[in-house]
């Protein structure tokens, strides 16, 4: 029998709202915590396996975790391995040891939740199933970094505003899981690891929930390897908890059209990942611009108060689109604008973005990166130079 290469050890729940786990992958050991003031978190083997699976697949060998695991979850592991390995051929299958397969039964409550960030996809799924959904789940440390306290506060306020006006409970959870996953898969949170992160959090809430919606970003027509995927998300389910990847039937423009009917949604919409200078939506990044175009097309940009800047054609035409995921969204916007037969300037800008040759896009990206580094280094160099100049005196 081969020796364990990866191991998950629960340090225990220090209080009802705190779970601590130690994950050992190869020689490296990392503590991971989950904290919530809104609900009792329940540590279980499904959650721990979901969080350690990808790093363990990178290492290969044997993954050991103590405890009972749902039979359905365990059986789906084969397909999860297959999908991840087809996407990233360097990942390896791992042998899961020490777990006892069981049929999960009798959850405490039968609540229905959705992961909610305040973005377009989250709002769409929430509004679509708002009669059924009882809880909004937000994870601090996933798309909002833990050290960004200002934004966390703003987001938390927004969540509670939405929760109270729709009569839904808000569950906020804080974790350093992303830091752990990012240390193994650099820059792959969106493209590979975040689905497993959501599944982990979902399983920590499993005694209270029968169904958790995961809002999807892409339509069925644009299926590309992505951390959360309609093929992958349902596989994290157990006998008592169902994960549903939702919203793939609607394009982003259709989703924006739905949320534009709600003023509260337009006053709370949060799409930005960069949050330059601590802003709620920077209005400069690709995602902000993409959403602003969506809102412009459905005629709701003026009513949306969370974007402080105006739609800038120059900024749009400077966008660099390299990955399939972003390209799909640009195409979608262009098609919507073509159907409307208006905004020739905006269409021209999007054409330019879409038809930019890859070599040119790569060159611009490199140039910008170097420019950014120089910008960051410049004050240091100036300071250093000044210091040297002063020394002889």
């Amino acid at each position: 029998m081969s020796a364990e290469t990866s191991r998950i050890r629960s340090i225990g729940a220090l209080d009802a709202g705190l779970i601590e786990v130690e994950v050992q992958i190869g020689p490296k050991s990392d503590p991971i915590y989950f904290r919530s003031g809104d609900i009792t978190l329940t540590g279980n083997a499904e959650a721990f396996l979901a969080l350690a699976l990808l790093p363990a697949m990178k290492e290969g060998g044997v993954l050991a975790s103590d405890g009972r695991v749902s039979q359905r979850f365990l059986r789906a592991m084969d397909t999860i391995f297959d999908i991840y390995r087809a996407w990233v051929p360097t990942l390896q299958r791992v042998d899961i040891r020490n777990v006892i397969p069981v049929l999960r039964e009798n959850p405490k409550e039968h609540r229905v939740g959705t992961f909610f960030t305040g973005g377009v996809d989250s709002f769409y799924t929430f509004l679509k199933h708002r009669d059924e959904i009882t809880d909004l789940i937000f994870v601090h440390g996933f798309d909002v970094l833990l050290e960004n306290h200002t934004l966390r506060k703003k987001t938390s306020d927004m969540l509670h505003r939405i929760g109270s006006s729709f009569g839904k409970r808000v569950i906020e959870i804080e974790t350093n899981l992303r830091l752990f996953l990012d240390s193994y898969f650099r820059l792959s949170w969106g493209t590979l690891t975040f689905g497993a992160g959501l599944a982990t959090v979902g399983h920590l809430l499993s005694p209270f929930f029968k169904k958790i919606y995961i809002p999807g970003s892409h339509t069925y027509a644009d299926l590309i390897p992505l951390g959360s995927h309609p093929l992958l998300d349902p596989l994290w389910s157990t006998e008592t908890l169902e994960f549903i990847h939702d919203g793939c039937e609607a394009k982003r423009i259709d989703k924006v059209a739905l949320l534009s009917e709600y003023d509260l949604a337009l006053q709370s919409l949060r799409v930005c990942f960069f949050n330059i200078h601590g802003t709620y939506n920077c209005g400069q990044c690709e995602k902000c611009l993409r959403t602003m175009i969506n809102l412009h097309v459905v005629g709701a940009l003026d009513r949306c108060t969370t974007f402080e800047t105006r739609l800038d054609m120059k900024r749009i035409s400077k966008l660099i689109v390299l990955d399939d995921s972003t390209r799909a969204f640009v195409k979608e916007n262009l098609k919507a604008l073509e159907n409307r037969q208006g905004d020739p300037k905006l269409r021209k800008a999007l054409y330019k973005v879409l038809n930019r040759p890859p070599w040119q896009a790569h060159a611009i990206m490199k140039f910008r990166r170097i420019k950014g580094r120089l910008k960051r280094l410049a004050p240091k160099i100036i300071r250093l130079g000044r210091g040297r100049l002063r020394k002889p005196r």
Binding site: F81, R85, W87, Y220, C248, E249
Partner: protein, 409 residues
């Protein structure tokens, strides 16, 4: 479109489950009943539920934009799956598949106690289905609940069920595959259906987007037999595009008692060929051809054309593995000129995957150090992309020139 409550009847030596179908469209004439026939011995497995008919006819209802009314018993899980199925198909092909209303008066789950618990595979004799069969034999599959116990072939799907060819199908399929199944301890079932008569053969693309539903419907007709049913995947998870059998679609067409599993999407076609290449059962039984889809009557054995987009890459892999000589199903020799002359068929949905098999071959041959084979495939792609385009342009230019001269004259 109305699907009446199905009936089970005995006709000669066969057991037939049929349903009266009412179709409003006048675009085509359809038979009044849709049926599945099985040998009399299968009577205990055949069900009178409407699940199979709903799965089979939903794509047709969507094609003609007719609401679907189901009067027989329908599984609630399947009813939910059908809704999602039509959303996906509509999103892929909005003009060809319209969203329709599905009404069922009798939603009822089948009783699990009545199911025999068989594990089936939709078997065609191709690379994908042979791989899935091989991967779920007791030697490879440790989990007993997932080992294949039955293989299901469908007659009346590729060919008209009342044609002469169809009559030969059962005999030939049995002759070819039954000895192998018996040896492996499996049972070969042949379902006979008239679905071919409901398809518009002018629109072959529609068939390419929906063929998975026919495979699953045949398994649902044997509703008391299967608890799991495998559909062998055609493409890898990284190469997903709208296609009739798709991991998203297949898994939706399941009931409370029958789970549908889209299998083998973690491997490329080349990897599957390599996996089954040392299995002697495939030597005289592997069907890969795009054209020679039927068995050769005179030879009483299966022969592939050896010259199409599917045959040549398969032969190349087998050749590189040093086992091509053992395969009697490829009687013609393989030379580099054959590789260079492959014609790649244009399937729009393949998009950037149009040269998928060729690209897989290039990376595989480079991996094992056969640069000559990689060169041949690169040349084939070049020929298909560049040369053909140039020849077309030249032809057009010459034609125009002739026209001008003719006019001047």
């Amino acid at each position: 479109m109305i699907i009446d409550a199905p009936e089970i009847t005995e006709v000669n030596d066969e057991i037939c489950v049929s349903s009266r179908i009412e179709i409003q469209t006048s675009e085509m004439t359809f038979p009044k009943t849709l049926w599945f026939k099985f040998p009399k011995g299968y009577v205990e497995y055949v069900t009178d539920r409407a699940d199979c008919f709903a799965v089979l006819l939903l794509p047709l209802a969507m094609r003609y934009g007719e609401d679907l009314e189901i009067r027989g018993a329908l599984s609630p899980r399947l009813a939910h799956g059908l809704q999602e199925y039509q959303r996906i198909q509509h999103l892929w092909k909005p003009t060809q598949f319209k969203l329709v209303q599905i009404t069922c008066h009798h939603l009822e789950a089948a009783h699990p106690a009545k199911i025999k618990g068989g594990v089936g595979l939709s078997f065609s004799g191709g690379v994908d289905s042979f791989y899935t069969l091989w991967a779920h034999l007791p030697q490879q599959e440790p989990n007993t609940g997932y080992r294949i116990s039955h293989c299901l072939m469908i007659n009346g799907f590729d060919v008209n069920s009342i044609s002469e060819k169809s009559e030969h199908f059962n005999d030939k399929a049995k002759q070819l595959y039954e000895p192998m199944m018996n040896k492996l301890g499996l049972q070969l079932f042949i379902a006979h259906t008239n679905i071919w008569q409901f398809m518009d053969r002018r629109e072959w693309e529609i068939y390419m987007y929906t063929f998975g539903s026919v495979l699953i419907a045949s398994a649902l007709a044997l509703g008391r037999l299967f608890s799991r049913f495998y559909i062998a995947s055609s493409f890898q998870y990284t190469q997903l595009f709208p296609w009739g059998s798709h991991p998203l679609l297949d898994n939706l067409l399941c009931t409370e008692t029958m789970e549908t599993l889209h299998d083998g999407a973690h491997l490329t076609r080349v990897e599957k060929i390599a996996a089954i290449s040392h299995w002697p059962e495939t030597y005289s039984r592997l069907r890969t051809c795009l054209f020679n889809t039927f068995f050769i009557d005179e030879a009483a054995q299966l022969e592939n054309c050896c010259r199409c987009e599917r045959c040549i890459p398969t032969m190349s892999v087998l050749d590189m593995l040093g086992v091509l000589g053992k395969y009697t199903v490829f009687p013609k020799p393989l030379e580099s000129k054959h590789i260079r002359n492959i014609h790649f068929y244009n399937i729009p949905e393949k998009g950037k995957n149009k040269y998928l098999y060729a690209q897989e071959m290039i990376s595989y041959s480079l991996k094992i150090g056969r640069r000559d084979v990689a060169f041949d495939y690169r040349y084939a792609i070049f020929r298909n992309i560049w040369l053909k385009g140039r020849i077309k342009k030249m032809r057009r230019a010459i034609k125009k020139l002739f026209q001008r001269i003719f006019v001047i004259d």
